[in-house]
Every structure is written in C-alpha cells, then in structure tokens.
Symmetry: C2
Subunit: 338 residues, 2 copies
C-alpha cells in the first residue's frame, strides 16, 4: 500500500487528484475521502508498500511524467499540464492553465501536435468562468463546446479521423409529481402561479424538478412540502412519462409518485403557488381538462387504481454495488416476490 | 385566425419564430411545421381574422416592439434584440448579436440597464461557436454559464435581488441494458473492450446510452443490435437504478429492459465489444462477480423472475397530451387493469 500524505494546510482538489493519478499507476481513491487533508490510497497491483510525500503538487509548465520509481520527473516538455483518461484521451488540468492568452495559444498548439503524434483520442478542456478569455482561443483552435454549468464550460477536441466517440452532454431533466390522498378521499391539489395559458385555472398535482443528486422519492416529498406545507412519505413510483424537445431541446422524465399524507394543514409557497386545497377525488378526476387529455387521464386513472389497491408500481430499494462502490437506489415492482 | 405568410425564399428559423412571438399576442405554432416556408398560425384569443405579411424579419439594432395593431414598430431603443419569455425574463436573439466586441459590450450594458429598470427577471444569452469572442465580455458583465452543446453556449443573468429561480441545466444521462433470453434458456452477453479494471473479464448484458430524443424502448433495441447484431423487440422495462456523481458530477438513470430475440446469429461491433455469446442462464447467474454485488444480483434476480413469469414491470404506451400537443410515452404496469 502507498499512503500519500498531503500538507495539512492544503485542500485536496480535483486537479491534485488528477495529478496524482498521473503517476502511471492505477491509484484507487474513495469519493468519501475527497476533499480531505489526508488521503490514503492503495496501489491496485498491490506490489508497492511505501510512503510517498506528495507535498503541494504545484502547477508546472510541462508534461508531468513521473518515472515508475516515483523519483524526479523524467521528461518536461513545454506543454499544457494534462492527464490520461481511461479511454485513450487526455484531460487538461484547469488549475494549471496560463492566464496569458499568448502563452495559452502557444501551449495549446504544441500540446495538440504532441497528442496527435501520440495518437491520443478525446481531449477535455475545462475552462473556469474567471478564465473566459481562453474560450475564444480554444474554439478557434478547433475545440467545441461539450457542456457547461455555473462556474465553468467544458470543451472537447476529437483527434481520430473517425466519428467522435465522446459521450454526449447530459440530456434529461427529472420531474416529479405527488399524488396525496387523505382519509376523506380528498386529493391534495394546487394552482400554479406561472402556468402557461393552456393549464391556467386547472387544479393539478404538486410537481417540480428534483435537485442535483437528489433521489426521486425524496425530491417528490420535498416538492409537496415546499408547495403545500403537507408532510408525506413515499409509497410507490407508479408511472412515468418520457417527453422530448422540452426546455433547451432536451428531454424530460416525469415520475408520478403515490405519497402518504402525514399532516393536513396546508401552507402554500406564495412565490410559486396561487392556491392549494384538498379536493374530493371525484371532483378532481371529473375536471373537463383531464377527461380531454389522454396522457393526463391515464396517469390519473393509475393514481386512482393505486389508491383502490388495483395497481402496483415500483418501490425504491437501496443497494450497494461493487462496480462503483456506492449505495444507490433500484426501483422495481415490490409486490412480486423476487 | 391569423395566417402568417413567409417569403418563399426564407427558411423559418427559431429566432424568426421568437420575433413573431413578440407580437404581444399568444401565437400557437406546431413543431411539425418548423422549419418550413409557409407557416399557418392561430391567434389563441380567436378575435382576429386577418392575413399578416411577415416578410424577412431582418435583425435590427433596437427593441422590436410591435403595436397591438401589427403596424410599424412603435419603439426603437438602441438595445440588443430580445423577446420576453413566459416567466418575466428575456431571451436575447443569437441571430442578431453584433460581431464587433465594442458594439456588443455597449449594447449589452444598455440592455441590462433597460431590463433592470423594467424589472425583468432571468436573461438568456445563447452564443454560437462562431461568436465566441463575445463569451468573455458577457462573463465580465456578470453573466454565468448555464449549459452548452456542440455549437453553442448558453449564459444567464438573474436580475432580482433574491435567489435565482432559473431552471438548472440538464442533470441526467439515460442508460439502458437489454436482457435477451432465447428458447434454449441462454442469455445474450458481451465482454466490453473498454471496461474499467473492476469489471474486466465479466460477461454482462449489452448496455449503452440512449441518443438525443430517443425512446428508452427503442434505444435498448438499437444498442443490442449494434453491439451483437441480434434483432429484438421490447417487452417490458423491469427495473431502473438511479445513481449520482457519475460523469461530469451528473446523475444517471439506468433502465433494465426485457427484450424478445428475433434472430440468433451474433455479429459483434468490434470497436466496442471484445466478444459476445449466448450463455446458459445458470452459468450467467452463477458468475461470482454478480453473486458478490447486491445491486447487480437484485437486477439479475428480477430478470430471471420476469423470464419465469413471476414478475411484471412497465410497458410503454404512446398517448397524446393537450398540454404540449405532443405524443409521448407513458411507462406503467400493464398487467394491472387500469
């Protein structure tokens, strides 16, 4: 085992991990440890048992090529600092990009020539907001946008003379809607403030988008609570719709969930919701708008069938996988004995 | 009804539709007609019945404010051309951005002052790859990245003195895996070429990501066909896993589908697949790797239970919705009578 010790005043960043991964060995590290100040690591081949002082891993102008004996760098070409990925590609370190445009264009051109010579495949270049002067330079050198988020834009360059095999950018938003029915056979419904013309005036289920890294079953409970103040627990995911060409021409998966009410007093979120109430099931189902809409009618029929124990959807079951070492949720029909 | 006729030599672009939507009336148009040369449109209030010659809708420096009588523009401020969205925000027309950086910075500052005065909320600025010189200017004026795709980057600016209510960028990739079993009780399995260390040597189900705007049930049939040459039809989606912190720190929904084989001769895609074969079910299930992995073992147990008619998942049913006027698929338990 190799234990890599970091200076105690140094936060472990993504780029320093990438630099460590460049030691030409497969280093395994757990996401749980990151960011942290002390990072135990295991060499997967299991043949080395030593201590390695990484120190501050400063940015250097030049390719960091560490010899197999983890001594001094054996090569220092005047290139952008970058690391190989698992697919024959290269990830440029955003923490080590030069601030001068002239230096960047020279290093980028030399690096691209070097990667082409070495038959590299996809090149990944993450540019932070504060480095935005570099974006037009990279675009002019042949990079293309891949995806972006507040704080950065990711660009890619595909070297081989064949169609790009780089993965697409994320394609879907995940929406959730909660069907909550109380002991008086009343459904929890809302009127949204900013409903487009075709649904204005309609009493509908509370809905929303899940947050980053949020589970479907907890996202729907949160949305119902935020919009109406009603506390619930998740019972089942009973159906979902897959729609395309939504916002930004992307797609949308919308999960309808059966929830159990734990409270009854409604407090609306006045920013998003105009009104909320408990509506008798028959009145809710009978709204003309739903009767005319095949998709919504079917979804509501499924909600009612679930309520009447004539239907079973999917439960959420937390399981661990060796593949990524993480716990995640598997949704499946819990009624069947598997 | 208002019929808007376009010059026959003019392709209808997204920006010209946006400009038309700015007539301060709600215009309805079908995606099917776009792009086209003649575009019938209906005014939703139903009070107007006339013909409107739109002509070429050229880019103009100035806010295009068309009077309610659809005569000449009633205001021409020296601002970026932009259109109101349904949420109190503004969408800047990427087709009408100036090419000069100096002109852009002046127009952007004046426009932002104007929108602030007019209490606008979210500002959307799409910058095409060929306009990348404008990206650092917009960032320095306070815009932030929202999302990007090959060809463009989208930036946003939130005006109100409260947390942003703009939607997040797409958050999920959609993966699919196909469980195909033949009449000899053999499962279709593959060995992937670029499998990370922890799954190398494992015989697994054919998997992949769905394409842009592709359905889950057709994406899984395509992936199986591409990787193994085996033709199939979709029977059921039987379970899905929701995992986080995957590529680019985004999330991932992976749908396991039961497929019916329509052919038996395997032809592998040598770029992605090292080997593929029909493997006896008992041998497949008995692989040590699966027995040790709670998530994979559960998924495979569900596949076997589906094969043995002890389990039912979700079918895909195409339905139309009035909400967006589109056909899309609802996935639900088809075994229950709803």
């Amino acid at each position: 085992m190799v234990v890599i010790t970091m200076a105690t005043n140094q936060l472990l960043t993504e780029s320093s991990i990438l630099r460590m991964k460049n030691f030409n060995r497969e280093l395994k590290f757990s996401r749980d440890w990151y960011p942290c100040k002390w990072l135990p690591m295991t060499l997967l081949n299991g043949r080395v048992n030593t201590q390695l002082q990484v120190g501050t891993l400063p940015c250097r102008k030049g390719a960091l090529v560490v010899s197999p004996r983890i001594s001094l760098p054996s090569t220092t070409l005047d290139l952008l600092e970058a690391f190989d990925d698992e697919y024959g590609g290269v990830i440029i370190d955003p923490g080590c990009l030069p601030s001068s445009s002239n230096a960047f264009v020279r290093l980028l051109r030399d690096s691209l020539s070097n990667w082409k010579l070495n038959r590299k495949r996809g090149i990944w270049l993450k540019i932070l907001s504060e480095q935005s002067d570099l974006v037009p330079i990279a675009i002019k050198e042949g990079f293309n946008y891949h995806h972006a988020e507040p704080g950065y834009v990711m660009l890619t360059y595909w070297i081989p003379d064949e169609p790009s095999m780089l993965p697409d950018s994320p394609s879907h938003q995940i929406g959730v809607g909660g069907f909550v029915i109380n002991e008086h056979k009343e459904v929890l419904v809302v009127k949204e403030r900013q409903c487009p013309f075709h649904c204005s005036g309609i009493w509908k289920l509370p809905t929303g988008y899940i947050n980053k890294s949020e589970e479907i079953f907890s996202g729907v409970v949160r949305e119902v609570q935020e919009e109406t103040g009603i506390e619930t627990t998740f019972l089942e995911m009973i159906a979902f719709r897959h729609a395309h060409n939504m916002a930004f021409e992307k797609s949308d998966l919308f999960f309808v969930c059966m929830l159990k009410a734990l409270s009854s007093d409604i407090t609306i979120d006045e920013k998003e919701i105009e009104a909320a109430k408990w509506m008798p099931l028959d009145e809710f189902v009978g709204q003309e708008f739903y009767q005319d809409d095949h998709m919504l009618k079917k979804a509501i029929d499924i909600c009612v069938a679930t309520y009447e124990n004539r239907y079973s959807g999917f439960i959420a079951d937390q399981l661990i996988s060796k593949l990524d070492g993480n716990l995640s949720y598997l949704y499946y029909n819990g009624l069947n004995k598997v």
